[in-house]
Symmetry: C2
Subunit: 123 residues, 2 copies
């Protein structure tokens, strides 16, 4: 996997959680990310390090009922994916966009975008 | 332009508005889109037709102070772009993701994603 194409790494990332927390494999997820991951998202804005990213991902995966791919593009060392998830919290269908940069078989940058309106009501 | 690559069409789209309303050229924009455009976004969810899309784009462009590209990917008949804009309303920096499908030199599908929290406060 360390020499895989960016899109293969990204598919492995989705495979690790898209069926929800029952099949979530944190060890596999960790193997896909650089330890100094740069993560950006609507609420936390920016976090550095996989360990800072994992708790938020885990909470999200606990809410995932289903995953539906809409569009994905791949480039040299990068990928972009648009998908919908049916969630338990916030309940209903939510859309997500993720833009990845991959180097040496690890995701080094992940920029996530979604409409955080319903998420902000939870906090 | 009708035989251009998807990414060239998408660049022409951004060039038509990224310097704000002063340089916005609705005629050029119209030439880049299929008349039966499928548009999806956080607030309107789904609209069919370029004429249903243009008023929202125009209001957005009136608020644009600057455009900053973060990442873009291209594929056969598709593109994905992540960018920030500094806006006057809602004031400040906002992030946007757009996923395009292009056919015969026209954008046929545009899926826009952003955190609409501040936008919802305006309506």
């Amino acid at each position: 996997m360390t020499d895989g194409r960016a899109i293969d790494i990204v598919h492995a990332y989705y495979d690790s959680w898209k069926r929800g927390i029952q099949s979530f494999d944190a060890t596999t997820v960790r193997s896909l990310f650089a330890s100094d991951l740069v993560y950006e998202g609507p609420i936390v804005e920016r976090r550095i390090g996989f360990d800072a990213f994992l708790p938020g991902l885990t909470r999200f995966v606990q809410s995932v009922r289903s995953f539906s791919l809409i569009q994905e593009l791949q480039g040299e060392g990068e990928a972009a994916v648009l998908y919908d998830c049916d969630l338990t919290l916030p309940a209903g269908k939510h859309r997500f966009a993720e833009f990845f940069r991959v180097r040496d078989g690890k995701i080094t940058e992940l920029r996530l975008l979604y409409d955080a309106t319903e998420y902000r009501k939870l906090s």
